[in-house]
Symmetry: C2
Subunit: 332 residues, 2 copies
């Protein structure tokens, strides 16, 4: 991947530029600037992933260039390595305070420079992989919706509700971020349920209901055993469990049900009530909240949901209403 990494080398010394070129050109895509002004021009066009930034320059200095990078939105992922012979502790600290990522002192050795650029290059690609990862999670989640083009924002809304409920009930940032990413995977197992059953109007036969009830187990199988997808698997497997043990597929109860599953159990039902389904019209927020408080022929909130989560959900119910409204669109 490394030739994909773009490195801008800023140094007013031509010999230095040649040396650095020799060390990096085989594996990296390079551009050069000999003054601060030239550096800023190159930054705008070349949009480098990494800048090797000499501090002492004939016109503006390296800190000015660093400030430009930090104030330019399309350079927000650019990594900056400050370079100088005169690198006292104050200058290093000034660089770090301004958002530089590392420094290197001249004269440096080839291996040293190469090691640093390699590390930062890996880091640059890691952002791209993270984006592609998020994209693939979403593709997998959307693939499970019965009708690809028409799904609307159900999965996105469930992510946002779940983040909010986790946050309001005092979970730490890591947990909240993780559930925001993985709540959307709750129904991936529906990929293996025939569409004729998922979209059936009218009531389901016993066999059809058994088939639908298989989706948490199918989902857990699809997601599999990756440690990084542990929460996604939990959610797929446990989002239909109920507090009193009357849910499926395991029939576990109370805090035996993982927290992530208890959260998505609430947020998924809220979105189902707000959306049109083959067996019911869409309900407005007010009617939905009445059902969340008093129940109806299908839902008994006190028996089905974690009481603490339910209480947080009810007290902050306007947040869920506003998420639904800002991300409206037909859910499946």
């Amino acid at each position: 991947m490394s030739k994909n990494t773009k490195v801008l080398i800023v140094d007013d010394n031509l010999l230095n530029l040649e040396i650095v070129k020799g060390i990096l050109e085989e594996e990296y895509s390079l551009e050069f600037a000999k003054t601060g002004t030239e550096a800023i021009e190159k930054l705008k066009v070349f949009k480098p992933d990494i800048v090797l930034q000499d501090i002492m320059l004939p016109d503006i200095d390296g800190f000015d260039v660093l400030a430009f990078i930090k104030n330019t939105p399309f350079l927000k992922n650019t990594k900056v390595i400050m370079v100088s012979a005169l690198m006292g502790v104050e200058m290093r600290l000034k660089g770090y305070e301004m958002g530089a990522h590392d420094y290197i002192v001249k004269p440096f050795e080839d291996d040293e420079l190469k090691a640093k650029i390699d590390i930062f290059s890996e880091l640059v690609h890691s952002h791209e992989i993270k984006e592609a990862f998020n994209y693939t999670i979403e593709a997998l989640s959307r693939a499970a919706e019965a009708c690809d083009e028409e799904t609307g924002n159900h999965i996105v809304r469930v992510n946002e509700y779940s983040y909010t409920l986790a946050k309001d009930s005092g979970q730490d940032e890591d947990f909240c971020n993780e559930i925001r990413c993985f709540a959307q995977m709750h129904d991936v197992g529906k990929i293996h349920v025939p569409m004729s059953i998922l979209n059936k109007k009218g009531s389901l036969s016993k066999e059809e209901f058994v088939e639908i009830k298989g989706h948490p187990i199918y989902g857990a199988k699809i997601i599999g055993e990756s440690e990084q997808l542990r929460m996604a698997k939990e959610i797929a497997l446990y989002h239909h469990e109920k507090w009193d043990g009357s849910g499926y597929p395991s029939g576990i109860s109370g805090k035996e049900i993982p927290l992530s599953g208890r959260i998505v159990a609430i947020t998924d039902v809220y979105d189902a009530l707000r959306s049109e389904r083959s067996y019911k019209p869409a309900f407005d927020h007010k009617k939905t909240m009445t059902i969340f408080k008093d129940g109806d022929d299908r839902l008994d909130p006190e028996k089905h949901f974690d009481p603490e989560l339910l209480s947080s959900f009810l007290s902050n119910n306007e947040k869920y209403e506003s998420i639904f409204e800002s991300l409206e669109g037909e859910g499946v």
Copy 2:
């Protein structure tokens, strides 16, 4: 995520340990060692993501500990930052040569240490995300197979064949690695084709065949517009195009068909011929190669495949046979 990052701090000076602890303990999970021997004991149990490794120690030195890390398979992703007051260029180079990732000179400033550990922590998590990404790509690919548990190794084999064909036809390492990751996604669109059609024994009706022919377009939609998944989308969309323009869904021909699609067109057919399908038994390598040379009632290799790729495939056919054998298992 940062509390998930485990940092081992090796330093024989108790005061230094306390200082480093103060800087890092809020965000990182820490362990400490005051001698090289103790460091090795802690490495075995704590399995740190990052080691902050002082060089001068009372027993064995920091380079010995570094050597232990480099020779221990379960520490292969551990990042090592060498620390010393006496950091001449020879010592730094020795560290880099032995596989250290960075160094820091005592006395260092709080911000400096923090910046370095933050960068490495990000890098550690990026490996995990990359693993999770690969895992999710595979989950999405497997989800498209009609019968989750029984799929065998079809998708894994197509990855390996495609890598080999790309390599043998002179593509660069980046292209080869990418196709090895994404070839498996060629059939994701089958998620939206009813299983009753995919698994039908006997011939398909015209409508059913139209439905099956939709899978490249469904697949491209599922994969979507991410730049990082561009090749995956190409493969999904174009792996049923033919050299003479008689394929689907676009009917493009020759080099209009992206290279990735032309490669998977060959490797997917090879695997289909080697595997049992609802309409045919599994063929052995010899019979399959006869079809690849002379064609049969369904396949006209000269009209269907890129002639250069076909020629590479035929000359290296024993490689594909051995991939099939080493990864045997019923394909779908």
